[in-house]
Amino acid sequence: MNDHLPVIIEFIRGYYAYLFLILLFMTGLYAMTMKRNLMKKIMGMSFIQSATIMFWIVAAYKDGATVTVYDRALGLENPDLYLNPLPHTLMLTAIVVAVVTLGLSFALIVSIYRQYQTLDEPLLLERMQ
């Protein structure tokens, strides 16, 4: 065990962001499938969307790099000094999409609550009969 400990610590140090995102994604998946309350399902859905968006951002992150604008001090020799701007721009679109789905799901929840006076799924299915 003691021999493996440094390797494990190194792994966690290197990948802690991804480990956190996997945890977030799985929590969201659990909330979406297991929770009975529709509101909690939406929270789970939001977790999943955030985890996906942050996955792109984390993957595009480079330690010590700067924005993609030509800087005389840095020069053009080392591309590692500049970030790839594409994932960030793409994720702006994905965030907009996430907000729209969230808004639509709240609208549906309001409509469901007005019809059935509950957001509890088993009770809802009972009242739908």
Binding site: K41, M45, T52, T93, S111
Partner: protein
């Protein structure tokens, strides 16, 4: 016309129409319908013109804002995408003719929202088909999906719950897809499909690529309602309004299937998917299970619209079987079945909508031969569509299954062949159950007969689905409700704008069946990818 601009014209014209319709609806609801109809008609013309141009001169590539492909977004019209675009716009044009009266009848106060959302849905679906950029595809997928959730929510009392389930699962599918694209982007550094397909063969052993492809197939499988992920579909189709179901059911899942085609046969080498990842086999066998499972559940249903929704699960399975075969014959079968099923399902959902409009329900147990007397043409259209669904020659449904069966025999895949044969029998069981009642079951003298309901009663402003309970009250005080075994049933056909599209689609099933050789050689063979 200048064909080089067609790829961008199609989604852009739909988006423009979706913004135009609220203004038109401000003047009158009828004008909103006419605007939607005319724009879809115009775009159908664009698609057909694009299809001819593509068949004559090869693919059309459009670079958005003039940026060259690996950096900018590229829209592509090749034989496959032009064909799918024509299918989407053509079917929705017919659905929009049908939906005029149907929307007025079922959800008149939401008519403008319905047409606006329809245009957004079509913009998204056409965009998904035309784009050659993996992230752009996600954006169009979400446009189509969000419009689709809202369209499903316009329906009866249970529709918001069905739409909610559709939304959560659909969003999950889109998130899986986006995560998969992230893995592909990290490994290849490109989002353009052509570029990715050139780089991927060098990277095929890397774990991110495997992970990314699996996630993409998982996400699109959810959108396509592939077997274990089909839970959202039947409820969403059954509780949405008839016009919305007739619009989404024929084309929604087909476009998701198209994305699978695009990714599995054009972006990735199918041999890699078959031999190393076994993704093709997994999709094929899930499809085969879905065919059987959907058919068995369809037999258990007591309501026509729900039965058709479960049968959609089975029909998507056929397309997945075609993908799983991954041979030219399987490809032809799957594409032909996508075309045929779009026509058949639209026709059948038209009929279930007409039944709900005219007799107030579509419960199978309450049907009897008064239906055939009151609505002879609608019943005849149902017969043709049902025979085509079962797959008897010379209707179109037979030929899609024929090519799939040939593909299964060619690879000696006896499981797929057995599934195709058994599912044909199962289809026959559930459609003959309806046909038997429609044509042979005599009217029972005692029960109050719904088919006597006069036409003006059905123009009530409230929902046709809700009128289930109050229709008994209607028929109780109906004047000619005399329980007489030999009662003469008055003709009760739906209005011409509903009947004619129904008849047209059922007739097209015969035409498509007879013209299948021409369709296969001229339209489908040019789109078979080089890798197959």
């Amino acid at each position: 016309m200048n064909t080089s601009q067609i790829p961008i014209l199609i989604p852009a014209a739909f988006l423009f129409a979706s913004m135009l319709i609220p203004f038109a609806g401000y003047i009158s609801r009828r004008l909103a319908h006419v605007t939607a109809l005319l724009s879809t008609g115009l775009i159908t013309y664009f698609s057909v013109a694009g299809l001819w141009a593509v068949l004559a001169e090869g693919r059309i590539s459009y670079h958005l804002a003039g940026w060259m492909p690996p950096f900018g977004i590229e829209l592509i019209m090749d034989p496959l995408s032009a064909f799918m675009c024509t299918l989407i716009t053509g079917i929705s044009f017919i659905v929009l003719i049908y939906s005029g009266k149907m929307v007025e009848h079922e959800t008149p106060h939401k008519a403008i929202a319905f047409y606006t959302l329809t245009m957004l849905l079509l913009a998204g679906l056409c965009g998904m088909v035309l784009t050659a950029d993996l992230f752009n595809l996600y954006v169009f997928l979400e446009i189509a999906a969000i419009a689709g959730y809202a369209l499903v929510a316009i329906g009866d009392k249970r529709a918001p719950v069905a739409a909610f389930r559709y939304l959560t699962l659909g969003t999950l599918g889109a998130a899986f897809y986006l995560l998969g694209v992230a893995f592909i982007f990290i490994s290849t550094g490109s989002l353009n499909m052509g570029d990715v397909s050139r780089v991927l063969p060098l990277l095929e052993d890397s774990r991110p690529v495997v992970m990314g492809l699996t996630l993409i197939v998982l996400g699109i499988g959810l959108k396509m309602a592939l077997f274990p992920m089909h839970a959202w579909m039947p409820d969403a189709y059954a509780y949405a309004s008839s016009a919305a179901t007739a619009l989404i059911a024929p084309i929604g899942t087909k476009v998701a299937a198209y994305v699978l085609f695009r990714v599995m046969f054009y972006v990735v080498d199918p041999d890699f998917l078959r031999n190393d990842l076994h993704l093709l086999q997994i999709v094929g066998y899930l499809g085969a299970i879905g065919v059987l499972w959907g058919s068995i559940l369809a037999i258990c249903q007591k309501e026509l619209k729900l039965m058709l929704a479960y049968s959609s699960v089975a029909q998507v399975g056929y397309i997945a079987v075609g993908i799983g075969l991954a041979s030219p014959l399987g490809f032809i079968g799957a594409i032909l079945h996508a075309l045929n099923h779009a026509c058949m399902k639209a026709c059948l959902f038209f009929i279930s909508g007409s039944l709900r409009m005219k007799i107030g329900h579509s419960t199978i147990a309450d049907m009897n031969d008064s239906l055939r007397k009151a609505m002879p043409w609608t019943s005849a259209a149902f017969v043709v569509a049902a025979i085509s669904m079962i797959g008897l020659p010379p209707t179109a449904g037979f030929f899609g299954k024929w090519y799939l069966a040939l593909g299964a025999i060619e690879q000696s895949n006896w499981i797929f062949l057995g599934v195709l044969l058994v599912s044909t029998l199962l289809n026959a069981v559930y459609f003959f159950k309806v046909l038997e009642r429609m044509y042979l079951k005599p009217q029972v003298a005692v029960a109050p007969l719904p088919s006597h309901k006069p036409a003006q009663d059905t123009h009530d402003s409230h929902n046709a689905h809700d009128s289930h309970e109050d229709h008994d009250a209607h028929s109780a005080h109906d004047s000619h409700e005399a329980p007489h075994p030999a009662a003469v049933v008055a003709r009760n056909e739906p209005p011409a704008s509903i009947l004619l599209p129904t008849l047209g689609l059922s007739f097209s099933l015969l035409v498509l069946g007879l013209a299948n050789a021409w369709i296969v050689t001229h339209l489908i063979v040019p789109m078979i990818p080089d890798w197959l």
